[in-house]
């Protein structure tokens, strides 16, 4: 049966969930959207965009390395992301001695990771599911056990994030004051990069390494344009991510074009609308 879109939403939903692979995809997308949007809210607030991008391309050396030594690919994702997160954290973003030293470190970590990936690939030459799948992701062929692993990672990361939520916010907004009042700022920063690495490793298995931003950066960025209050902002960010993921998946299901296009277009469109709305509001307020 060819799926066809109609005005009857109930019938559409029934079509959407008719196949087990779509149910798995929807479950995975939901988990990933909640995780990415929550962790991403902090990442955007901390302006760790380049670090996020670097972590997301670690999928490549992770997958290539795991294929080389015969580990599960998913484990390779998590290991490579966590290693890169620690490498970025280890060099410390703390003292802003000199200009822009941080971006040099992150850029170097990224290229070293990619160079290692190419090396693994040339040592192995085995099938890797094609570079396109690795970079742009696929929602199809997600197994129920993958969904379970995703769920476990997401719950663990979100619990840790909830525990450190308040001190992390303090350390992000007022670093020096937090440090002076006894918040272990440096340790929190390392911990956050690890949570970010886990979240990105989980997300990039679904969206592909290059399109992580559609769920990790765009929804929190939109939410922070609308409100700077933490809890409503986080909630709004999760809602945006869920909408982007669900609508993107549904559109891809009812058409012949890839999900990555729909998800990124929805995310970018939302961002443009919110930015334009914010600009209009500021002009009207004056």
């Amino acid at each position: 049966v060819n799926p066809s879109l109609s005005l009857d939403l109930v019938a559409d939903f029934r079509q959407l969930t008719a196949f087990p692979f779509m149910v798995n995809a929807l479950q995975a997308a939901t988990i990933v959207a909640v995780l990415a949007a929550s962790v991403g809210w902090y990442a955007v607030l901390r302006r760790q965009i380049f670090a996020s991008h670097t972590l997301s391309v670690m999928a490549f050396p992770g997958a290539a390395g795991a294929a080389l030594i015969g580990l599960p690919i998913a484990l390779g994702y998590y290991l490579a992301c966590a290693t890169a997160g620690l490498a970025i954290a280890g060099t410390g973003r703390t003292p802003r001695r000199g200009y822009g030293g941080e971006t040099a470190v992150i850029g170097t970590v990224q290229t070293v990771g990619l160079a290692a990936g190419f090396l693994f690939l040339s040592l192995n030459q085995s099938i890797l599911g094609g570079p396109e799948t690795l970079l742009f992701g696929t929602f199809l062929g997600i197994t129920p056990s993958q969904v379970l692993v995703l769920l476990a990672v997401a719950v663990a990361s979100l619990i840790v994030l909830t525990v450190v939520a308040r001190p992390l916010l303090f350390a992000t907004v007022e670093r020096d004051v937090a440090s002076a009042s006894g918040v272990p700022v440096a340790r929190l920063e390392v911990l956050f990069l690890l949570i970010l690495a886990l979240a990105i490793a989980a997300t990039s298995q679904i969206t592909g390494a290059l399109l992580v931003f559609a769920l990790l950066v765009a929804p929190p960025a939109c939410a922070q344009q609308i409100t700077l209050r933490p809890l409503p902002g986080l909630a709004l960010s999760v809602v945006f991510a869920l909408l982007i993921a669900w609508i993107g998946l549904a559109l891809a299901y009812f058409s012949i074009y890839p999900v990555g296009f729909y998800v990124t277009t929805l995310a970018f469109g939302l961002y443009v609308v919110v930015r334009a709305g914010g600009a209009l509001k500021r002009r009207g307020g004056r």
Binding site: V44, R47, I49, F50, S52, H53, T91, G98, Y99, G100, G101, E102, T103, A104, V105, I106, G107, T108, Q110, T111, V112, L114, A115, A116, F118, L119, S122, L123, E132, F136, L210, L211, V212, F213, A214, V217, A218, A221, I256, Y257, P258, G260, F261, Y262, V263, T264, T265, A267, F268, Y271, R275
Partner: protein, 271 residues
């Protein structure tokens, strides 16, 4: 090993691209724009695919989209430096469009050759033709000279934009010109030696130079020297060791140089 033409081509293009990356990279790191360069290099691929989809020359499409994105970043951002959040969201979308174009091309008959051409554009440094390596060297040399010639206004508008404005330096225009120069280097070297090598040669040598000295001209010279040295050494290594990709070897050397410079920094600092 210089008896082979492909090695000579690689050394010719590699030397000048490394020179350009090292020099411009010092400013990229100083201005904190490594992410912008990274985004530009990913976008170059979409430009080539897009050109294949509408049937124009892939190289033209690649240059056009990369320079257009640089202009957009410069015009939209404050101080001609776009916000990382905006860059990230926009470039994810451009990649999403790239995915769509790939899908469209895959379903339309006769367009497969366009994708193949676009893919072969992103060859290895060892597969350059003589003509392509001369072109790469010329473009890289031109950008290097341009950056060196505008060192003073660029430096002033990076370090102290207010003072630069007071002294009549067109800060926005300088920032815009810098991004366009970065886009040209990115487009040319993405095509010639691959995006991976580009980012490595922009970030690592400049980071190493920044940890060695804070004096501008010396820093630019050191950065360029490390980039060229890593390229020469990496090309020789990958020629000697089969299975070692040239880009991995070059990046490895550049990153090692950065690591050594950063690690020995406490030893060198006067107490």
């Amino acid at each position: 090993m210089f008896a082979y033409e492909f090695v000579r081509n690689a050394y010719l293009a590699g030397t000048f691209i490394a020179l350009a990356c090292g020099a411009i990279g010092w400013f990229v790191v100083l201005r904190g724009q490594v992410f912008a360069g990274d985004a530009l290099s990913h976008v170059a691929f979409v430009g080539a695919i897009g050109a294949a989809a509408i049937g124009i020359n892939e190289r033209v499409g690649l240059f056009m989209l990369t320079v257009a994105l640089a202009l957009a970043m410069g015009l939209l951002g404050r101080r001609a430096q776009a916000d990382d959040v905006a860059i990230g969201t926009a470039f994810a979308w451009i990649l999403g469009v790239g995915v769509l174009l790939l899908a469209v091309l895959a379903t339309s008959p006769g367009a497969a050759s366009g994708v193949t051409t676009a893919n072969t554009l992103f060859g290895s440094i060892y597969s350059l033709s003589a003509g392509a390596s001369w072109t790469a060297a010329a473009i890289a040399l031109a950008v290097t000279l341009g950056v060196l010639a505008s060192t003073r206004p660029l430096l002033l508008s990076t370090l102290d934009p207010q003072l630069a404005t007071l002294r009549g330096v067109p800060v926005r225009l300088v920032g815009l010109g810098f991004l366009v120069a970065l886009a040209v280097v990115t487009a040319e070297s993405t095509e010639a030696v691959g995006a991976l090598l580009l980012l490595g040669l922009i970030a690592a040598p400049a980071g190493a130079a920044a940890s060695l000295t804070s004096r501008p001209l010396r820093g630019i010279a050191i950065s360029a020297a490390i980039a060229v040295g890593a390229t020469w050494g990496g090309l020789a290594l990958s020629y000697a060791i089969s299975g070692l990709p040239p880009s991995s070897a070059i990046i490895g050397l550049a990153a090692a140089a950065y690591g050594v410079c950063a690690a020995t920094r406490p030893l060198r600092q006067p107490r």
